[in-house]
């Protein structure tokens, strides 16, 4: 089959299938998503990805990879395909595919979300991940920034570093924001996270100091953590919350007593995507709660919110500054098993649900939430048009810059055979897409919004297997799983920010050589973003920087392919689409911040919110300008290599 025919078919299949379901009013269910996802993945991998790998990139198992050529026993180390796939997938899987999808489905409905998940991963996502690995293995295992230095311009490397640092800052802000809101709003969540921290400390001690057997350590720590996470709602009944929930709620109330129960500051989220906003009731109206005023839309930031933010920072601080074996590594290890169990069983639940419990399997969310897809833009009001905002709200489920960074600096140096690049890089991305589809299923069957709906959906899917009595415990486990996935990445991000700051500023300002100073400084910058209050803009700005990072990676690959005289269309076209989309989304987010945060009426704590809002607008401008500089330099490099392939990549061209 010709590649052009494959492209047309792969483009039309999801549109026809999902469009047909919506047009004919067929009730969507979990099994349809599973089957459609499996078919699309198979077709895209078998007929598109493999063809490009064979005909355009021409990977060859007989060529020596950097892992073999420069084997140093540490970074460059040939690793088998299966191990590397597992490692790569675990490194790229974070909160992006979960939070992005549930936020997008809440804003625009499941139909646009699933369509972008299918089309995005087919034409852009796997291409970005796979090509980042390929460009690195064909350039001696160098990182993207080192290749940009040689291929485009020396200053591109510096700009890319600045970009990456602020991108990390946005990840930290968005992730800490959603975790804090959950910890503050759900009294059944904190116990599990506290036990996770304790088990991580004990697990590290058992494994590395007491030299206990790994299986024993795994069984003890994982079992205790899972039980603690599921126990949150124990004793809960229709009469009221259980003892653990009461204890945590009492603690929160005591903290709020510091200000006499008054809010520290107030914000408005015009999209209602903030995790603190309750889902609409059966009548479609959102109820007023202690922290949300349905009449005015005001969200109150209470002292307990700040306390839980501090808790997350302390957790991340331990992960960033303690020896890696002491805390960060055991957290990741315990977290992995919890995630595997919860996600594996939920996937099984999604397949079995239509046969065992059809009511659970049915989607409980509108296919399209905004009939005009948000394109009816009003002056002076925040905008959420489907394009470009959907494409940055769904972050890692379709395409992600984080994956390119992992692939080019880590995975590529362990690849044993060139031909492993596709199953590892492409396969990793398709697996991540499955995680996003599962999140969509969870939020769509639960019917609410945000992480709460995701957890409720996981609870329902686990209830399909273990019975209805298990739903509340399954929901608590869903919250725990969500927190674990986000926490593991957040502590890694702070660790990286600390190292980056030391490298940059440590020489000029010696105090920044101290890891405690750099960790706390990174966290203070994150607080500044958190205090803008409107979480959804923080998320969308993170999504924009994440997708833009992927676009920049693809831009680099496009220039490289041009320099070695290969066909660039399969990556150049997606790159242009993502670049333009993300740049526009940054402008829209900056506009939204201005009209809904900075020009909002005078609430409590207005000054703090304004500082946060301006910090985010400044960050938007910085990302926009950095990307423009890189694109301009890349354009000049493109023209240069069009005239004659560059000598700097001659080795790559001949390999």
């Amino acid at each position: 089959m010709k590649t052009s025919t494959t492209v047309v078919l792969l483009f039309l299949i999801p549109i026809v299938v999902f469009g047909g379901i919506v047009a004919f009013g067929i009730k969507m269910n979990t099994l349809i998503v599973v089957l459609a996802g499996a078919v699309e993945t198979y077709l895209a991998y078998r007929f598109y990805a493999k063809t490009l790998d064979r005909d355009v990139i021409q990977t060859d198992a007989k060529k020596a990879t950097p892992a073999k050529l420069y084997m140093d026993g540490v970074d460059f180390m040939p690793t088998s395909r299966g191990v590397l796939y597992g490692y790569h997938f675990k490194s790229i899987a974070a909160a992006g595919p979960i939070v992005g999808v549930i936020t997008a489905a809440t804003l625009w409905g499941w139909f646009p979300s699933i369509l972008w998940l299918a089309l995005g991963v087919t034409f852009i996502g796997w291409v970005a991940d796979y090509s980042a690995i390929v460009i690195s293995i064909r350039n001696d295992g160098n990182s993207l920034s080192a290749i940009a230095y040689r291929l485009i311009a020396p200053r591109t490397r510096t700009i890319l570093f600045i970009f990456i640092f602020f991108y990390l800052l946005l990840i930290a802000g968005a992730f800490v924001g959603i975790m804090t809101a959950l910890m503050a709003a759900r009294p059944d969540v904190p116990l599990g996270i506290l036990v996770l921290a304790i088990m991580a400390l004990i697990g590290g001690q058992m494994l590395y100091r007491w030299k206990l057997d790994l299986i024993v350590v795994t069984v003890v720590t994982v079992l205790i953590t899972i039980v603690a996470m599921s126990l949150g709602p124990v004793g809960q009944s229709s009469a009221g919350p259980g003892p653990i929930q009461k204890a945590v709620a009492g603690f929160n109330k005591a903290i709020d007593g510091i200000t006499g129960g008054r809010a520290v500051m107030e914000v408005i989220d015009p999209t209602y995507a903030d995790p603190r906003v309750p889902p609409p009731g059966p009548n479609g109206i959102r109820p007023t709660t202690a922290i949300f005023d349905a009449a005015t839309g005001v969200i109150k930031t209470m002292p307990n919110y700040l306390f839980w933010a501090l808790f997350i920072f302390v957790f991340s601080y331990l992960g960033a500054t303690l020896p890696i074996w002491r805390f960060a590594q055991p957290v990741n290890y315990i977290g992995f098993w919890i995630t595997l169990i919860a996600i594996g069983l939920s996937s099984l639940g999604a397949i079995l649900a239509p046969f065992i419990s059809p009511a659970t399997a049915a989607f409980n969310m509108p296919a399209i939430k905004m009939p005009d897809f948000g394109f009816n833009l009003a002056a002076g009001k925040p905008w959420q048009p489907l394009w470009p905002m959907l494409f940055v709200t769904i972050a890692c489920g379709s395409i992600s810059g984080w994956h390119s960074l992992v692939g080019s600096t880590n995975t590529s140096r362990q690849l044993e055979y060139e031909t492993d690049a596709l199953p590892v890089g492409g396969g990793g991305m398709f697996s991540e897409n499955w995680l996003a589809l599962l999140s969509l299923i969870a939020v769509a069957i639960a019917g609410g919004a945000g992480a709460g709906a995701f957890a409720a959906g996981i609870g329902k899917l686990l209830g399909v297997i273990f019975g209805k009595e298990f739903i509340s415990y399954g929901t608590a486990l869903g919250f725990g799983t969500f927190m674990v996935i986000v926490l593991t990445v957040t502590q890694l991000v702070f660790r990286v920010m600390r190292v980056t700051l030391t490298e940059w500023v440590g020489g000029a300002v010696p105090v920044f050589k101290n890891m405690h100073v750099t960790s706390i400084f990174s966290m203070l910058l994150t607080v500044l973003l958190l205090l803008s209050g409107t979480w959804v803009y923080l998320w969308q700005l993170f999504g924009a920087s994440n997708q833009l990072m992927a676009a920049l990676s693809m831009l680099l690959v496009t220039v490289w392919l041009r320099s070695v005289g290969k066909n660039t269309s399969f990556i150049g076209i997606p790159m242009l689409f993502m670049f333009i989309t993300t740049m526009f989304s940054i402008l829209v987010t900056a506009h939204n911040l201005y009209v809904s945060v900075l020009t909002a009426p005078a609430f409590t704590g207005r000054g703090i919110v304004e500082v946060g809002g301006w910090a985010m607008i400044l960050l938007s401008a910085l990302l926009f300008i950095a990307a423009l500089f890189i694109a301009w330099d890349a354009l000049k490099a493109w023209q240069k290599y069009g005239a004659a392939p560059g000598p700097s990549v001659a080795t790559a061209a001949t390999r």
Binding site: D72, V74, G82, Y87, H88, I164, T409, E503
Partner: protein
């Protein structure tokens, strides 16, 4: 030198289904732990090579008897050590 000349297999070897599952699980759960362990070992190795550097290049710094006894343990690691030390690095190398 190409892979073919060294007599290595031309294509990746095939693994059974359960071996593949085992590999993937290991990759997800523990490969990063073993990589950190290897990195820690490499840092120690750097120190080890540093203290025996004098004898390696023929300029004794420590009392020669002790470092000469250490040399047999150092020499096998010199090749990979050189690659690690001389490789160009940037901030993104510290990321993962």
């Amino acid at each position: 030198m190409s892979e073919e000349k060294r007599g290595a297999p031309k294509t990746p070897p095939k693994a059974g289904f359960f071996d593949k599952v085992k590999e993937v699980l290991y990759g997800m759960a523990a490969h990063d732990m073993s990589r950190y362990a290897v990195r820690t070992r490499a840092s120690m190795e750097h120190l080890f090579i540093l203290i025996t550097m004098g004898d390696l290049i023929g300029v004794p710094i420590l009392p020669p008897y002790y470092s000469l006894r250490l040399l047999p343990y150092v020499v096998p690691n010199v090749a990979t050590w050189k690659r690690r030390m001389l490789r160009e690095k940037d901030i993104s190398d510290a990321m993962f």
